[in-house]
Each structure stands twice: as C-alpha cells, then as structure tokens.
Symmetry: C2
Subunit: 223 residues, 2 copies
Amino acid sequence: MRDIVLNPPVDAPEAQGSDTGARPLNRRQVAKQRTRGKVIEAARNLFAQRGYDAATIRDIAREAGMSTGAVFANFQDKSELFDTVLAEDLARLAEALTRGIKTGTDLKSRLLGGFVAGYEATLDQLPLVQAVVARAWHQPLQDARKGRELIAPVIEGLESLVADAIKAGELKPTTDAALVTELVWVAYLSNYRRAAYDSWTIDTLKSHLEQQIDIILSGQRAR
Amino acid sequence: MRDIVLNPPVDAPEAQGSDTGARPLNRRQVAKQRTRGKVIEAARNLFAQRGYDAATIRDIAREAGMSTGAVFANFQDKSELFDTVLAEDLARLAEALTRGIKTGTDLKSRLLGGFVAGYEATLDQLPLVQAVVARAWHQPLQDARKGRELIAPVIEGLESLVADAIKAGELKPTTDAALVTELVWVAYLSNYRRAAYDSWTIDTLKSHLEQQIDIILSGQRAR
C-alpha cells in the first residue's frame, strides 16, 4: 500500500513548529509561505462555498485580506490555486486511506477500513469534496489531465490491494483488478452525494459502502 | 419498463408541424412558446459551454437575442430554467433507454441495450451532460431535491428491470434490486467522463459498461 502515500504537497503552508530537519526558512521565506497559506485557505473556503466557477480571484484575495496582485504573485491562475488545494486534500485522503487499511484482513475489510478512514478524514470538508467532484466533471481537458495525475497514486494504491488479493488467491485469477478498483472507487465517491443531500453519517456511509463492495466482489471471489 | 417513460415536458418548445390532436394555439400563445423555446435553447448552450454557475441570465438573454426581462417573464430564475433543460434531456434519455431495451433477452442485454441507446441519444450533448452532473454535485439542497424528483422515474424504470429478473429467477432472490441498480447507474454515468476526457466512442463505452455490468451481476446470478 506504499504506492498510495502521496508526498506532502510542495505548496503546503509552513509546518507549524516542525522539526523535520529541513533547512530553516529566513524571515522573507516565512512571510511568503504565510501569504501562500492564507491564499490557499481563502481559496479552499470559497471553492467549497461557491464552487470553482463562481469563486473569483478577486473574491479569494478579499477573503485572504490581500490584493489580487499578491495572489498572482503566488499562483499563476485560479486553476493552479485549485490544484494546490486539491493536492493538499488528496494527500490527506491518501494518508487516511493508508492508515485505515488493516493488513492481515481480507480484501473487503482492507478496502472498507481504508475508505471509512477516508470518509472520516474528509467529511468535515464535504462542500469542498462536492466542489472538487463538480469541477472534475466540467473543466477544460488540460485541467482534467492535471487532476487525473493528482488522483492517480490513490487509485494505483487501491488497485494494488485488489491485485494482491488476486495473487493471494482470494479473488479469481481472471479478475480485472483495474475494473474492480474503478467500480469500488466510483461507489465510494458517489456516496458523498448522499452525505451532502441526505445527511448520511459515517455509519450510514460505511454500511452502504460495505454492501456495495459485497456486490462488486461477490462474483470475483475464488471459492 | 413503462415506469421509465416520462411525460413530454410541459415546457417543450412547440411541436413542429405536429398533428397530435392538441387544441391549436392562438398566435399569441405560439409567440410565447417560441420565446420560451429560444430561451431554453440559449440556456442549454450556455450551461453546456460554461457550466451552471458561470452562465448568467444576462448572457442567456443576450444569446437568445432578448432582454433579461423577457427571460424572467418566462422563468422565475436560473434554477427553474436549468430544471426545464434537464427535464427535456431526461425525457430524451428515458425515451432512448426504453427504446433500447429488448424484451425477451437476459438482464444484462436489456440493461446494456437501454444504456447504449442512452449514450447514443446524449453523446452529441456531452458538455451538457457534464454540466448537469457537475451541478448535481454542487447545488443547494432544494435544487438537489428537485433534480432527484426529475431523475427518479428513470431510476425506478431501471430498478423494475432488475426486480423483474429477480422474480423470473434469473438473479438470486436475495439480490438487492435498488443497490444493484444504483451501482449500474453510477457506472453508466461515470463513463461519460471518459467520453469527455478520453474521447471514448459508443463502442468503447458499450464494451466498458458491459464489463462493469458483468462484474456487478456476476455474484447475483442464480445458477
């Protein structure tokens, strides 16, 4: 499951009181990172509230308490700002998925453990998840490609779980790992809409996803 | 599969050269319907091009060659206009699904026939499908409820196919028809993204959806 761990995004706001051994930043660098962090935070809030299209750079700057010039000094355009927010959130999701997967269990438990940890790590940012999925559906091709690159390690990590289960003889050797992973991922994602519009809790999400995974895996199990 | 047939939307532009036996419209009514039709067409184009949020009533009016006042004389707000476009397109989709389902075949063939006809009927309006799904993910609760009401007959029609296959002994009696329908629907929808960003053709969509349906149904088949 190592594949799933994304590197911390380069654009992360400065680590608070970190002692990671990285070279200490000088005052100017610290100020610059703080500015970036403020812009990212403001962008995150506005993307979540209004969606990508309706959140303008002007509004984001105002929310961050700075000029649009200061925003553009840090980010080329709105799309780059969105990708930075997305990269941070995917890193958080990937970390949660990895943490949630219990080794030594069957595939269903591993997937479910990972995904439930994923829901737990993101449900307090539900409007942002909604904005991200909405954006994934209606964006220029070039942006779609960038988004796909960002999500790829998460999908590959999940697919390696399925591939491992095939190798271990838990699933049939004829199972298409990519297709099974895709179906499980699509089910996982689709449930966020129920969380948003039917107020589904973690427990509801978990029980529903468990049934979905059961259906998807039931024909693939080696008996 | 009767459930799936939506009534033609009340707001449809006037039937051209129709002889449906409806009472003929007087000149004023014809003019009013023509105006509505123009607004809907302009809205459809702008929603597809820009997405819901970025398409303003002002732009829609300009595209239709009329004043914003004329738009508001026909539609209360952008959300009502969007629902009208959506209702028309869902009626088209439902009609295609119904037409594509061949009776007398197994569930997989019926579902696949319906869905492929669905792709065929909508693929020339792919950007609008993308805008609709994006909107489904990021909209106020009240709008989400309306959207769900519009889509419900389509989902119910599909679910009745699955329920019929359970009754006919093709699927296990323990099969959860709603859950199977949901998974197939979510897979069907998700493939539109591949059509949009990977230029998938009808043939690619068909072959991929067939594999997805195989996985979803394989554990549910009564042997």
